[in-house]
Amino acid sequence: MDNRSHYNHVTDAWMFIMGDNLHYGYFDNGDTDLQKATDALIDNFASMARIDEDTSVLDVGCGIGGPALYLHEKFGCHISGISTSSRGIEIAKAKSKEKGYSEKVRFYTRDALDNGFPEDTFDIVWVMESSHLMRNKGRLFEENYRVLRNGGRMLLCDQMLLKEFTARDVLRYRKELAAVEKSFGKAKVETIGFYKAKMGERGFTDIETIDISEQAFPTLIKWKENIQHKKDSVLEHFSEDDFNNFILSCDILMDLFKNGIWGYGLVSGTKQS
């Protein structure tokens, strides 16, 4: 199943598991509320750039629009959200309309690697947990650089490798990786160092990286709790196999986090042409 079909398949079930924000959270100060933690991740991420009501943001891989709507509510900024999942865009558009934000928060079914926007359009390109789904990171950065205005900033956060995962490791973990792929889609996860180097190659400057694996880890515990607590609702959209595999995938990812293999990073860089 390609990622477009995968996301169309999982979006409705994920809303019961993950809430309005289909991404990890930032758990700090003993906070255990998933919604607060996912908002906190957006806040932390947004702090890597200056955003106000005149800022124009491109949200690449916008999911069901949660972060875009949150950012608009908080800063009043203009946002264009794109995703290849037509189901995600349908939900995002309905939410934006319901909140009366359609004028400044718009959603489009588009490909991140060929987004169709003119050059020098946005002050910020916001890539929240979508880059791991794209094999060709170089092309993603090229496209983001193209649509950024001079001085604009690309912010990216995602699951990342914290140490080298060798070919033998991949073969040894083949069953676990297959389970995770089945639940979360086809992924090409890279190290934080890879992101930094690739962005530098493209010409981004002032590159900043932050490892927040520790703060992101409890997300997996919450997802596992939520899917078990909301089993009946989830099973309206998932098969039993999808349900069980999701729980297994959370356990696998928790092990990878605990073993210091898998983690979560924030990266940002400025277009300075």
Binding site: A167, R168, K188, V189, E190, K198
Partner: protein, 120 residues
């Protein structure tokens, strides 16, 4: 060993390293073709000895790499009647070992197959 298998092994015993290497090279290129059939046109991998199969910036993602290696092991079994488990048989190599490129994988698989054929 069945009589049919025995015949295949017997006929393989005379193979030179160069013959095995050529056969392995062809198998790997055929698997690249099969893999490329499943990839978007602009993300296909090059049919070159230097093609990097796995690692930072390589063309294949983790599961595609697993599928590639599984297909390779199956083709070695069906075409050469030799069973190899590349995960186990590369245990002593640090890092990505023989999996760095098509060339290194072909060289290692050739050595392994030659040893197995000669030992049978």
């Amino acid at each position: 060993m069945t009589r049919e298998t025995s015949k295949v092994v017997s006929s393989q015993k005379g193979l030179r390293v160069e013959d095995i290497e050529n056969q392995i090279q062809n198998i790997l290129f055929e698997i690249i073709d099969e893999t490329n059939d499943r990839l978007p046109e602009d993300e296909r991998i090059e049919k070159e000895k230097s093609t990097q199969l796995y690692g930072e910036g390589a063309a294949l993602d983790s599961m595609e790499f697993v599928n590639f290696i599984v297909a390779f092991e199956q083709r070695i079994q069906s075409d050469l009647d030799v069973t190899v488990n590349l995960e186990e048989e590369t245990a002593e190599f640090p890092g990505d070992g023989p999996f760095r490129s098509i060339e290194t994988l072909a060289a290692y698989a050739t050595k392994l197959i030659k040893e197995k054929i000669d030992g049978q």
